[in-house]
């Protein structure tokens, strides 16, 4: 892998982890506000939102950390891709339904109301692509490592 590819991968990794940590910490601190934000989407039963509000921020935080732990990089990148793909889809559905609600993406501490929803979708889509790129590279590296461990044919 070339040096520029390594640099790009590192930049992507740090950016994705930073977004995930920035999103997770306020929600871990105030899960009640996050549960209300989830309710506003009107997409799941109200009784589910407390559990999701409790689990999702931790999943974001652990995913961010997993991106830097050598033996968790593959699953971390796969989870990051899945999470951002889900957020992109959720924002797109919200836009299609014509809902004008607070995103809740970064908890109650940060308001994203001023950011038009199509910008939010675009940003999430770009991060999904970056995460997918890292994910692909991680799986490729893992497969190469596996192949190199196999006994050579005479």
């Amino acid at each position: 892998m070339s040096l520029s590819a390594k640099i790009i991968r590192s930049i992507f990794r740090v950016t994705i982890a930073a977004v995930l940590i920035y999103a997770a910490l306020p929600k871990i601190n105030d899960p009640r506000a996050f549960a209300e934000a989830i309710d506003n989407y009107r997409i799941i039963p109200l009784s589910w939102s407390p559990t999701i509000a409790l689990v999702l921020p931790w999943l974001e935080l652990i995913t961010a950390l997993a991106l830097f732990i050598p033996w968790l990089k593959r699953s971390g990148s796969l989870l990051a891709t899945s999470l951002f793909a889900f957020f992109t889809l959720l924002q797109s559905i919200t836009w299609a339904r014509g809902l004008t609600i607070e995103c809740g993406c970064f908890g109650s501490a940060v308001s994203t109301e001023q950011i038009p929803i199509y910008w939010r979708i675009s940003i999430y889509a770009l991060i999904t692509l970056a995460a997918a790129y890292i994910c692909r590279r991680e799986f490729k590296t893992y497969n190469l490592q596996l192949q190199s461990r196999l006994p050579q044919q005479p």
């Binding site: 899960p31 506003n40 009784s47 407390p50 409790l54 968790l72 593959r74 989870l79």
Partner: protein, 130 residues
């Protein structure tokens, strides 16, 4: 198989985090809405007639936009004012007080239901605080 092991480790770490949140008392709770109650976000979306069941002093300090203060005095004209507003533009009526345990909004909502026939009347779940 290795990827499954990785996911299990992530799930375990998440569980530890969730356990921490639960033990620190930050976990949100789901409470079933009682009959006649409405959540603030639902009520706001309906652009209702807001009725403030708190004290006059609290109302004067702050209240929801265009809210009507409800005077429980039988000689007051609160009921008439509310009826006029509703009659001019029939819409949902939501009564609020300040505290989640405050029963006043429920009592006022019940009183309004008895007096304004055909109106959709709720009390605000959790109350409203400025």
């Amino acid at each position: 198989m290795a990827i499954i092991r990785e996911f299990l480790i992530i799930a375990l770490l998440c569980s530890i985090g969730v356990a921490y949140s639960l033990l620190s008392g930050k976990a949100p709770k789901y409470t079933e809405l009682e009959a006649g109650a409405i959540l603030f976000q639902d009520a706001s979306a309906l652009e209702p007639i807001w009725i403030d069941a708190r004290s006059r002093q609290d109302f004067e300090q702050s209240h929801l936009p265009a809210a009507i203060w409800y005077d429980s005095n039988p000689e007051s004209e609160s009921l008439l004012t509310i009826f006029e507003q509703w009659f001019e533009n029939p819409r949902v009526i939501v009564v609020y007080c300040s505290d989640p345990r405050c029963k006043l909004s429920q009592q006022v909502a019940e009183e309004l239901r008895n007096n304004i026939e055909g109106a959709e009347i709720y009390h605000l779940a959790g109350g409203w605080q400025p």
